[in-house]
Subunit: 104 residues, 4 copies
DNA sequence: ACTGAAGGCTGCCCGC
DNA sequence: GCGGGCAGCCTTCAGT
């Protein structure tokens, strides 16, 4: 049977209460969530005011969430593909990669 | 002068502390935010389990955030354009709109 | 066996060509895609210039992509839930819905 | 004066044609756009079949779209901030950065 | 079938 | 005040 998505008759009042509760809980939680989102935004604003670069901060936070092993793998794959494409010349990243290869 | 985004020499330690503080605060706040996001997801799951349709719930929450006047305007524009396109036939929304027009 | 994602030794040149081809093809296709995206944006700009409301146009396009039956279902669910929440009063949508209910 | 978004009386037919044209043009363009999106997806599938890592390919394409100078700046800032946070130890990226610093 | 990522769209914010 | 760029939300798709 297909999932009922309507509200069965005779149980209207009950279901209605349930729905109301669900919606109000979500709204409450979204408010809280938004509050933290606003706080975060504020910290970024402060960072910017102090002369820091927001995109870089975001990137660091992303990196800190990842396992070091994962990061390493990704960088290696990137270097490998970049090398295959002849894109490893002149950039710091490139040079570092070239050096690494030489050591192997 | 271009905005400094680097970290001035001789103030390394100070700036470093500041940066560290900023990043840790953001991480803390993001954790909190995620916690609420997870809660929200859970409520949607509960709603689904109870037979409610999540997309419709989302839509209702969106509508409740909007001013009634805004909603009305949007529905009217939609009806107007639909009418101009000859798309107002057979649907409940359409019929209701046609009736409204007649009364004017 | 784990998926190899590196490039096997001794086949470097071949794989390299293959990778290069893949990337260039994607880039070419993305250019084309972007070109159409830009065109679309331009038409919306023109629409706006002619006094039309872009969000409503988007909504109509979305609706035209959907099967009428799907649309009807969604509207019904919305009405049903709104009714359960006591939100069906005073809005055109609401009134139309109420009328529909009465006819059943 | 507020922007008219409705359709002026007495010009209904004309405006209607215009709206219809706009919508149909957008729909046509979106079809084309989707067609290229599908092609792109297919190339990624082929790449995967050949053993390449899609996320890395995406990353390379992103990098190739950016100006080299921009990339360099970003990497430098990242290294700088990472250094300030004491996160530059053990990773290839880190080591390369440390070496660079020493040379200055 | 569901969960997690990628892309597209929308609303916001900054800079012009 | 407007347009462009950026972040969040939502939807779709691949993976399990």
């Amino acid at each position: 049977m297909a999932k009922k998505k309507g509200i069965g008759h005779n149980s209207g009042a009950v279901e209605s209460k349930r729905l109301k509760s669900i919606i109000e809980r979500i709204e409450r939680l979204e408010e809280e969530k938004k509050s933290f989102a606003d706080d975060i935004k504020q910290v970024y604003a402060e960072a910017k005011g102090a002369g820091f670069d927001a995109p870089t901060i975001r990137r660091i936070i992303r990196l800190r969430k990842m396992e070091p092993e994962k990061i390493r793998e990704q960088e290696e794959l990137l270097d490998l593909y970049m090398g295959a494409l002849g894109m490893l010349t002149g950039t710091p990243l490139a040079n570092a990669a070239l050096e690494r290869e030489e050591q192997k």
